[in-house]
């Protein structure tokens, strides 16, 4: 870009002028060079941040693999073979299975609730809604995204739990179902906006061609627009589910936090993220329990990283598709 600067033009003219201008340009460029490098160094921050997060979360979980004294109490082997999550007792046990069941139940309920709802709403926004209304939907959903998760957790705990209990008549107020619905509310904006962007990016010409060939508007929406935008919609779903797995305050407040293993979604659960939040404050620094909580953190970090990469690939696929390749 800098080649557009005066040097290029003046070189064709008087040579003495060239030298003088060139030297001015050079002095300027030294400052420019410094500024550019300074900005460059700053933009390392994100990369350094991600690397540091990985290093430090993982570093704190390393003793589980290397320290034999810690391994007496907690190790990968024990996470799998033990049956209960009972870190605070004379004989502490750290089984991952109850937490896995809890997380799957909450995320499952959230997905079943949020995914269809958000995708249908996105289709309505791009395909059917009157123009005026459309301008109103996106900010509306952004408002939902703006509600802090602690407020959603509060609402699920104080209001929604009682409401849902009266409606379905189950015995424990706080359970996987209640937490899952609240979790669903938190991920609706993610799935909705990514899907809406994808649907919006489908060229008008495709819709018009479909309609001109005699397809009805729902056939066009379903068979043409949705199927072209599918990778983008999928990316939204992946990002939403990743968020549900990592979301903490809502499940911490609305799920009851008992690490039970059962098949019912109306039983209380304890998820991976809520376990960290509930137990880290009282844990003894450097104990097996402490390192186990950091290990759970590493697992969450790895899962979200994987999901992000998948979403990224899906978006790439959509872009390729839209570019006609």
């Amino acid at each position: 870009m800098t080649e557009i600067l005066p040097t290029a033009r003046i070189k064709s003219g008087d040579s003495s002028v060239t030298i003088r201008v060139a030297s001015i340009v050079k002095r300027f460029r030294f400052k420019e060079f410094l500024i550019e490098k300074f900005i460059l160094v700053n933009s390392f921050a994100a990369i350094i941040g991600v690397i540091l997060i990985f290093l430090f979360i993982f570093r704190e979980s390393l003793p589980l693999f290397t320290d034999s004294e810690i391994q007496q109490e907690a190790s990968l082997d024990k996470f799998v073979t033990q049956k209960e999550w009972q870190p605070v007792s004379d004989n502490p046990r750290y089984a991952f299975f109850p937490l896995l069941v809890g997380t799957l139940k909450a995320v499952g309920v959230a997905s079943l609730f949020a995914i269809p709802l958000s995708i249908l709403a996105a289709i309505y926004t791009t395909e059917f809604a009157p123009r005026r209304l459309r301008e109103f939907f996106k900010p509306g959903v952004e408002m939902l995204a703006g509600i802090p998760s602690v407020v959603l957790g509060f609402f699920a705990l104080i209001v929604m739990a009682t409401f849902l209990q009266n409606m379905f008549g189950y015995s424990f107020r706080l359970n996987a179902f209640n937490a899952g619905i609240a979790l669903g509310l938190a991920i609706i904006p993610t799935i909705y906006s990514v899907s809406e962007d994808a649907l919006n990016a489908v060229p008008r010409a495709l819709r018009e061609a479909s309609l001109a060939l005699g397809a009805s508007s729902w056939q066009t929406a379903y068979r043409i627009v949705l199927s072209v935008a599918l990778p983008g919609v999928l990316a939204g779903v992946i990002l939403g589910v990743a968020r549900a797995i990592g979301e903490t305050m809502i499940v911490l407040m609305a799920s009851g936090n008992a690490a039970l293993v059962s098949g019912s979604i109306f039983d209380s659960i304890r998820t991976f993220s809520a376990t960290i939040a509930a137990e880290l404050a009282e844990v003894v620094f450097g104990s097996a329990h402490y390192h186990t909580l950091f290990f759970i953190g590493s697992v969450l970090f790895a899962i979200t990283l994987l999901f992000n990469i998948l979403a990224h690939l899906a978006v790439g696929r959509l872009q390729k598709r839209l570019a006609g390749k």
Partner: protein
């Protein structure tokens, strides 16, 4: 109009999708409405300016508001310059196809996806246990930096919000017309002069949007500050970056899960939730408004 048999599935599909949209907006309205109705009576000037009394069943939430504001200010000071410079680099200097640029983008995207509780763990493991402890060792203090405090919580939140700022600033830079850059360069402006005098002033509303969104998110996140500095109750206000602090979101969490008498706490709890909700939604609304006006302006220029 005659009923066309092919039109009826159209109508069903339209109603189905429209109901989904309506349901989402209705849930939003119910949540906000419920909180406004129950919290409205509690939020008075006195509530906002006095301290909690009688184990949180009476009094106000001033220390929590103060702590939240202090936290957010420190966070903004840390995240805005770095976030904006990252965006400038990506948008103005970088070769978009280089591996380095791609890795910055990859890192920013991933940072946005990392669960907030993991940021909390990171804040504890890195800022407090590693940086703080080593600073204490270096200055020979007993425990000054190596404990949960305002500054570590703010830096943890800053890292969490880096993607928000980068993405908004980048979008703002992207919509500055190419011709403006070329005009400035053709008039002899250097790259940096062009960025500082031509591009940044135009991108300012977008950068502001990012700042506001990150404030809104920073004020609402609880998981990252639970172990890095927030306290349940403090008899004094934080006066230095190494103090602990009370915070609105954390206050809500503690009051709603650990209160000995939930019914007695409820009015105060609802009041606190309403204050936090107004704060975050108002900020979001302003950000949306700025972005909306910016887009209209861009359409006029183009």
């Amino acid at each position: 109009m005659k009923s066309n048999p092919r039109r009826s599935p159209d109508l069903v599909f339209k109603i189905l999708t429209g109901t989904a949209m309506l349901l989402i907006l209705a849930i939003l309205a119910v949540i906000v409405g419920n909180i406004v109705i129950h919290g409205y009576g509690t939020v008075t000037f006195e509530f906002l300016t006095s301290e909690p009394l009688e184990g949180m069943t009476e009094g106000g939430i001033f220390p929590a508001i103060f702590g939240t504001v202090a936290l957010v200010i420190l966070m903004i000071v840390a995240v805005i310059p770095i976030g904006v410079m990252t965006a400038i680099y990506l948008q103005e200097y970088a070769n978009p196809n280089s591996i380095f640029t791609k890795s910055i983008r990859f890192a920013v995207n991933n940072l946005a996806g990392v669960p907030s509780i993991v940021f909390g763990l990171f804040g504890l493991g890195f800022f407090i246990q590693f940086v703080g402890r080593n600073m204490d060792r270096a200055i020979g203090a007993d425990v000054l930096w190596g404990q949960p405090s305002l500054i570590w919580a703010a830096l943890t939140l800053a890292l969490l919000n880096l993607p928000v700022v980068v993405v908004s600033a980048e979008e703002a830079l992207r919509v500055v017309p190419r011709e403006h850059r070329e005009a400035s360069l053709a008039l002899g402006g250097t790259k940096w002069q062009t960025i500082r005098r031509v591009i940044l002033p135009q991108a300012l509303p977008g950068i502001l949007t990012g700042a506001i969104l990150s404030i809104s998110r920073g004020a609402g996140e609880v998981a990252p500050i639970m172990f890095t500095g927030a306290a349940y109750y403090l008899p004094y206000l934080p006066t230095s970056p190494t103090d602990q602090f009370m915070e609105l979101g954390y206050h809500i969490y503690v009051m709603s899960t650990q209160s000995p008498d939930v019914e007695a706490t409820k009015p105060i709890l609802y009041g606190t939730v309403l204050v936090l909700l107004i704060l975050t939604l108002l900020l979001n609304f302003v950000a949306i408004l700025i972005r909306y006006r910016m887009r209209i302006k861009m359409k006029q220029v183009a």
